[in-house]
């Protein structure tokens, strides 16, 4: 894919093209014929720095919101040539079809989905051969000439190129964010269906084959059987090359992340280790490792604890000595910003998400059995790595805890409620991001229950059956009520959350706080009304996208931080009603109410203002694209396109039975046939299938 479509991705070219595409349009009326509202610009009486900036932001978006059918034909042609608008329906060259189109046409109709520019069809010269219309035979798109499209292939080219080929030295500022870059690009590609085999999400490969045959002028008007046979071969050629490239890419991702993983010694009080089966297990592993290193106890297998050895199981020793020592060191681990960088929870979050995506892509049974799935090997490697390090991550995370006695950290004899926060890394900042970045990997890796899941065979005898050995009830410090209490204390008087208590409410921290509370099932700790009202106010009246804070500007990345938070809260509110309403019934038959923000307006902002015509997405039209904004615009687009669901979504088997795998959508903006992307899990922000896979594979 990358080799097939070299990208000419330099900022200047992008800016120029973007300026040219500033003619891009759409009148705000959506494809589903919603009544037209007037979406007012921000109102103000007093000019201030804030209002001037706001006016500038509106002004740079305005050209994208103009009425498309009113554009001169050259500009429409340009939009078609860059792919923002569907190509003209070549099938209609037949006289009959042209008539049909013209019959439908209201010349002065300004609704994007109706005006089809029938006049122009007569004047346009079609040089392309008729048979190339295989790529544009979609009847609905031929009726919707003004439906804006997601530039799927261009985004794929931008993102896969970023992963595959070295980045210019200008990227050194991201040198401590390697796992982030990988996650941003991989998750985006996954949303775009890059790794799918022709399922619900469009695959790029099918269209690359199509465009290949269309593009080659030599294939002209010949449609003999022999020609068709040759084409088919060419298609499978391209297909096979692509599969191999993608598989290699996935493998490289796992390898790169593996090199970002680093282990560090962390210390615990001995009492804590004694009551925590996971820490005990780590201690055993370390002891074995030491012993193996010293070549004393060579008999111990590498996979798990003492293989049925007798009473002198050396693995028992560390625990006994633990009880005497005050502080015990175990080996923790996490992913750093790059090779040989210290573990950091944000990059650990990104790395675990990326590895989960790879594991799920490779190991989920799709149409084929898992063994001959072409991505099975990278998937297996990713899963193997995650399984190997999960307890190390757990220990690392626990070592980052910071206890707060009460406000201002002053001693209060009674009533001072303890709160637990986390640092982002050792000797690093404390804020609510850390809570989310820790809880999410733990959720995916099954580290958030009290029931111990490690082989913790105190008797040393292998007699006990699996289920028994795995259900030791141990204290899990990540379930301490002090953790959600800290998160809740970051909610401000406005309703959103700040980085630390009393910091200003902000979209990024609000998402982290809410998602973390959702994972912990602790949403009732906060003022839900205030939060939902604050979130609603963050959608910009005119632009349709979200801003991060009160009186700040629209930015495509908040499509997810705020839009995703709305999805999390809306679905929680619904699930909560379900729970309190009819506890007896187990079905989730009640129709989910639609998401509470304006999903069409958000899609419109993303597709019109945030897309760079050369691929990649951005903050706003005056900003350049980057991986981060590509990821969170697409994630926000996903949230806006897909109907709400319960969280966690039921396991794969259950959901298949439940609604016959029928995906439900919200109202869509633009070209509904080509714009649909995968459904992201709004709490975790990887595709829901990926989350389901990880949860189904915890045992």
């Amino acid at each position: 894919m990358n080799a097939a479509t070299p990208t000419t991705d330099n900022a200047a070219a992008a800016a120029a093209a973007a300026a040219a595409a500033a003619a891009a349009a759409g009148d705000g009326a959506d494809a589903s014929g919603r009544p037209a509202f007037v979406f007012p610009k921000a109102r103000y009486i007093l000019d201030t720095e804030s209002t001037l900036a706001q006016m500038a932001a509106e002004a740079e978006c305005a050209p994208f919101f103009i009425d498309l059918p009113s554009l001169p034909e050259e500009q429409l042609d340009h939009l078609r040539s860059v792919g923002l608008l569907p190509p003209l329906p070549l099938i209609m060259l037949d006289d009959d079809d042209v008539h049909e189109v013209n019959d439908d046409d209201d010349d002065d109709d300004d609704e994007g989905d109706k005006g089809d520019g029938g006049d122009d069809i007569n004047t346009i010269r079609f040089d392309q051969p008729k048979n190339s219309n295989t790529t544009t035979n979609d009847p609905s798109s031929s009726n919707n000439l003004f439906n804006i499209r997601l530039l799927r292939d261009k985004h794929i080219a931008y993102l896969s190129n970023a992963l595959s080929n070295p980045l210019s030295k200008g990227y050194v500022s991201l040198d401590s964010s390697h796992p982030w870059m990988i996650y941003w690009c991989l998750h985006s590609l996954d949303l775009l269906g890059y790794f799918d085999f022709g399922s619900s999400v469009c695959t790029s490969s099918s269209r690359i084959v199509g465009s290949g045959s269309r593009g080659s002028g030599s294939s002209s008007s010949s449609d003999t059987a022999a020609e068709a046979g040759r084409m088919k071969d060419e298609a499978s050629w391209v297909h096979d090359v692509e599969i191999l490239q993608k598989r290699t890419l996935l493998q490289r991702i796992v390898s790169t992340l593996q090199h970002c993983y680093m282990e560090v010694p962390v210390e615990f009080e001995s009492e804590e280790v004694v009551t925590d089966c996971r820490l005990r297990e780590l201690l055993l592993l370390d002891a074995q490792k030491d012993n193996t290193d010293n070549a004393v106890y060579t008999s111990i297998g590498g996979d798990s604890s003492g293989g049925g050895g007798g009473g002198d199981d050396p693995a028992q020793q560390p625990i006994a000595s633990t009880k005497k020592a005050k502080v015990v060191a175990v080996i923790g681990g996490g992913f750093g910003g790059g090779p040989q960088q210290l573990p950091h929870v944000a990059t650990t979050y990104a790395a675990v998400l990326a590895l989960s995506i790879v594991a799920s892509i490779g190991m989920t049974e799709q149409s084929k059995s898992s063994d001959d799935h072409p991505y099975h090997e990278p998937g297996r490697l990713a899963m193997e790595l995650l399984t190997k390090i999960r307890l190390r991550l757990y220990a690392f995370f626990l070592s980052l805890r910071e206890e707060f006695k009460n406000d201002n950290n002053k001693e209060v004899e009674e009533g001072g409620e303890r709160k637990t926060a986390f640092r982002m890394h050792h000797d690093g900042e404390i804020d609510v991001r850390a809570s989310y970045c820790i809880l999410t990997p733990c959720y995916l890796l099954g580290l958030l229950n009290n029931v111990c899941d490690v082989d913790d065979d105190d008797d040393g005898g292998g007699g006990a059956d699996e289920s028994n050995a795995n259900t030791t009830n141990d204290y899990n410090p990540l379930l301490s009520p002090t953790i959600p209490r800290y998160i809740a204390s970051c909610q401000t008087f406005e309703g959103g959350f700040g980085a630390e208590p009393f910091n200003e409410a902000h979209g990024g921290y609000t998402f982290c706080a809410l998602a973390a509370l959702r994972i912990l099932n602790a949403v009732p700790l906060i003022d839900v009304n205030a939060l939902s009202s604050w979130l609603a106010r963050r959608q910009m009246s005119y632009e349709g996208g979200f801003c991060g804070r009160t009186n700040k500007l629209v930015d495509g990345c908040y499509s997810f931080w705020q839009g995703g938070a709305v999805a999390v809260l809306d679905s929680w509110l619904h699930d909560d009603k379900e729970r309190s309403g009819r506890e007896e019934t187990t079905t989730c038959s009640t129709a989910y109410r639609e998401i509470s923000f304006d999903e069409v307006m958000l899609q419109r902002y993303i597709l019109l203002c945030a897309q760079d015509v050369n691929g990649g997405l951005r903050d706003k039209p005056s900003k350049s694209k980057d991986f981060y904004h590509s990821c969170y615009n697409l994630s926000g687009l996903s949230v806006a396109q897909h109907a709400l669901k319960p969280w966690p979504s039921p396991s794969i088997d259950a959901s298949a039975i439940d609604d016959g795998k029928e995906e439900k959508f919200s109202k869509l903006f633009g070209d509904t046939k080509t714009n649909i992307i995968g459904r992201t899990d709004p709490v975790i922000n990887i595709r829901e299938e990926r989350v389901q896979f990880m949860r189904d594979h915890q045992e």
Binding site: T48, S168, S255, T256, T492, E494, E504, A505, T550
Partner: protein
Amino acid sequence: MNPSVVLDIVPIPQDDGPDPVCSIAYSPEFVHAYDRFRAVLKADERSERAFHLTTTCLELNPANYTVWHFRRQCLIALSSANTSGRAPKIDVERIESDLDFADKLGGTNPKNYQLWYHRRALLEIRFGGEAGDALLEVAKKELDYIDRILEDDSKNYHAWSHRQWIMRTLNNPELWTSEVDYAYSKTIEDPRNNSAWNQRWFALHEGRSDVLTLETAREESRYALSGAKIDPFNECPWRYLIGVLMEQWRSAHKSGDAEDIARIIELVRENIDNVKEMYHMWEENPPSEDHPISACVSLLSALVDLLVLFKDEKELLAEAKEIVKDLTVEDPVRRKYWRMKEGEISKLLA
């Protein structure tokens, strides 16, 4: 290249494995510096030359938290102040010069976590070594630094957050009072600077979760309405008003004290009347020709928030319902939210 980057240490290249993804085409000087940094890190060499090496590395990439961490370890190791005590110390001169270093690296609008955390980590040590007026002096100097940053970007999130940390750490009555004034000075520069409104809330609460006194709450509601009068379309004063009143409301109802409850009910009613009065005033004399006050979403939604507090008073609820219906039209991007609200109010009315 810094001349003190010595050459007698065996460089350790970056080990990113075969064919890494998202690799960066580093400049030769970047590779040179970081190969040596990995070497001193591995050897845990907390020396003067290692310290200088971190300077070079951070100039090349100020977001490398590993380098910052190691730099702090060097600072501690190199400080004569570390005699015996348990808490690590760093010489004052070294702290001061490193604060300057972080300042220069960040430029006029520093926005990376590492730079700000470095200040915090250093100042934590610095504050620990001072007391009384000397401590206050150190803190004020840092507050001045933050002020300079806010001059350039009055909404710099890190800067405000850092400011709050200083205030909380010092917890000094004089500073709390002056911070209210500071927040005010930033608010009048731009009444839409929400960070400044937030800082006022923080300063008045002195960083604690204790609720304001009813008297202060009354004053603050007046303050908010004065702010709203300048520009009723500004969301900040309205949400500040709701924040102040809701805090009182919740606290009184939580305590269950009948007198407290009666007093806050009175205060809320007073504010409802004031808001309505403002509304009618603007109805007659529109604040702007372009924008009728009926389109003032911030005012109306604040009014709704106050009205629906009275869950048993049908008249107030009916009033709220009418406003919400209007908002569905006036504020179309939020129409689904307003319909949801309308449903909730209808339920209360039923």
